[in-house]
């Protein structure tokens, strides 16, 4: 997973961009592996992984080695190996421009 790479959900509208990535791990959305091109047929969502993604939020794994930016919202939740990713807390900076 190279930074800048975009991944799309196979089960909902979610799209993410890789901010920080490592070689291992397949990112899933709604329990289904994400891919660069959305399949013609929508996959079925795992109802246990359907809390939704929010545009502009960053999602990280527990070790902090993977960070994804949601660029399009959807109904599925992001996970790696079935373990849900968490929204990264943003420390707001004052506007400087």
């Amino acid at each position: 997973m190279k930074p800048g790479k975009k991944l799309k959900s196979a089960a909902c509208d979610t799209e993410v961009m890789v901010i920080r990535g490592s070689s291992g791990g397949v990112v899933e959305c709604a329990g289904v592996p994400m891919c660069e091109e959305r399949p013609a047929q929508r996959q079925t969502m795992n109802p246990a992984l359907a809390a939704g993604t929010m545009i502009g939020k960053r999602y990280v794994d527990a070790t902090g080695t993977i960070e994804l930016l949601c660029v399009k919202a959807g109904q599925g939740s992001l996970s790696i190996g079935g373990v849900p990713l968490q929204v990264k807390d943003a420390k707001p900076l004052p506007s400087s421009d």
Binding site: G4, I55, A73, S95, D97
Partner: protein
């Protein structure tokens, strides 16, 4: 990560929200994105290798910037204030270009460049009617997004390049997406060819804060616009703030009650001026931003709480922070190094080095980044014990008197504490005894008697060391500044040279 992602996300989140207001016409994020796509089609069709803007700020700056990004062609905003010969030289360096703005001038200065020319109105109209044409364009992430010519005063201007990854990293690291509520509006009065103008466009788009352009700065117009648009945010350079406060003090008092955040940068802010601003706007958050073109704008900032704490404090080192540019961004590493490249301890003055994804440090001709990824800024500075950064001029501006390094800023601060001195610049003057010595050019405030030379020398001697005492004092009507409020020290030095 293509720069256009920022606008795409804003349009995705709320296509109807107004993102930009210029001469009255509101542009929603949706219409801006459509126009940017159309612009990309026009740009790709032109075969140009650069997209240049030769114009004041308008919607064309936003459409041109994002359109060029989608088309994968570097965007080059040009300084329309340049003299003909200087501008002609830059046009030659970017030809064949797609140029938006003053087409007559480009035709006259570069008739054989093979350029594609659009007036502002033509460009906006072509972009709006061509949105479908961009469907086939494959976005690229690896190229140069923006190229800015730095203001070289002795040598030819350097072409600083900022890649998509630099600018996107800067925005993602400093701005929370959709953090602005729909009522927020930012007055943007910095010119489009300055990094602050680019950063303002990108930051506001990603925060989804409405941009209100003031194409040509004038204090009364700024005050009127800020009041009429209920502006909540503004970025100013010190000269602008000084003029705005001058008008307020002269009795121009429009309703600025919505204004809650004022950011400034681009030059040294006199402590007296920021103190006055903090008093005049007791409810506003002030942020001092320090950055360079080569670092994609801000790398350190002094935030609102630090401003208020310093403003109220009687403790010298807290109070002194009003003269600091704050702490480095969490996403940027910063070091002070000596001439041999060794890292220095707090309190020691040296050259500022930075490292981070937003730092380009790259010019068209060469990269200034070292093997470990550090960029030497050529700015001199030091850190205090708690990591606050203080600037001490350009590394090239240091006065070396008998082997002792003297920062012009410390002398200027002392001179400015004299009630009759309105402005001051300290520069190196030739000295037979010391190699270099201190020369100061000072401006006397209106309705004040001119202080004696000896009086100013005594003032410096009592507050600093004797080596800082100016050997020569010149009284001048005004100091030379560029339009961004940056003091032109080379021109000040010239005042001391024999005619």
């Amino acid at each position: 990560m293509n720069l256009s992602l920022l606008l795409q996300m804003a349009a995705e989140a709320d296509a109807d929200r107004v993102g930009l207001v210029c001469t009255g016409r509101p542009w929603s994020y949706g219409t801006l994105l459509q126009a940017a796509r159309g612009a990309a089609a026009c740009i790709a069709d032109s075969g140009a290798c650069h997209v240049a803007l030769l114009d004041e700020n308008s919607e064309a700056a936003a459409i041109g910037l994002f359109g060029a990004a989608i088309a994968g062609v570097p965007y080059v905003p040009l300084n329309y204030r340049l003299a003909d010969a200087d501008l002609a030289a830059l046009l030659k360096r970017i030809a064949p270009a797609a140029v938006i703005g003053d087409v007559e001038r480009v035709r006259r200065l570069d008739p054989d460049g093979g350029n594609r020319l659009w007036t502002r109105a033509d460009f906006v109209a072509a972009s709006e009617s061509n949105a479908a044409g961009a469907a086939d364009i494959q976005e690229r992430d690896d190229g140069v997004a923006v190229q800015i010519f730095t203001s070289g005063t002795t040598a030819a201007p350097k072409a600083a390049v900022l890649r998509h990854a630099n600018l996107v990293s800067y925005i993602l690291g400093t701005v929370e997406f959709l953090s602005a509520d729909p009522a927020e509006a930012a007055v943007v009065s910095v010119p489009p060819y300055h990094i602050a103008g680019i950063a303002a466009l990108l930051s506001s788009t990603y925060a989804m804060r409405r941009i209100v352009f003031l194409p040509s700065f004038d204090a009364d117009t700024w005050l009127g616009l800020a009041a009429a648009q209920r502006a909540t945010h503004a970025f100013v350079v010190p000269t602008m703030l000084s003029r705005i406060i001058g008008r307020i003090d002269a009795g121009v008092r429009p309703d600025l009650s919505a204004l809650r955040a004022i950011a400034y940068g681009g030059g040294r802010m006199p402590t007296e001026l920021i103190d006055r601003a903090l008093t005049l706007f007791p409810n506003a958050d002030f942020t001092n931003a320090y950055g360079l073109t080569e670092t994609s704008s801000t790398i350190a900032l002094l935030g609102p709480d630090d401003h208020r704490a310093a403003h109220r404090s009687d403790v010298a080192h807290v109070r002194a922070r009003l003269g600091s540019v704050g702490r480095p961004l969490p996403t940027v590493e910063l070091q002070i190094r000596d001439e041999e490249g060794r890292a220095l301890a707090p309190g020691e003055r040296g050259e500022i080095y930075v490292r981070g994804e937003q730092v380009s440090g790259e010019y068209r001709e060469r990269s200034a980044i070292d093997a470990e990824g550090w960029f030497p800024t050529r700015d001199a500075g030091w850190l205090d014990a708690e990591g606050y950064l203080f600037l001490a001029g350009r590394a090239d501006d240091v006065i070396v008197r008998g082997g002792e390094n003297i920062s012009p800023g410390e002398i200027e601060d002392v001179l400015l504490s004299h009630p009759a001195i309105g402005d001051a610049a300290a520069v190196a003057v030739a000295s037979l005894e010391w190699g270099e010595a201190v020369g100061v050019a000072v401006v006397v405030r209106p309705q004040h008697a001119r202080p004696g030379e000896a009086e100013l020398q005594t003032l410096v001697r009592n507050r600093l060391r004797s080596s800082r005492v100016p050997e020569r004092v010149l009284f001048v009507e005004a100091l030379p500044y560029n339009e961004m409020g940056k003091l032109l020290r080379r021109e000040v030095r010239r005042l001391f040279q024999p005619a």
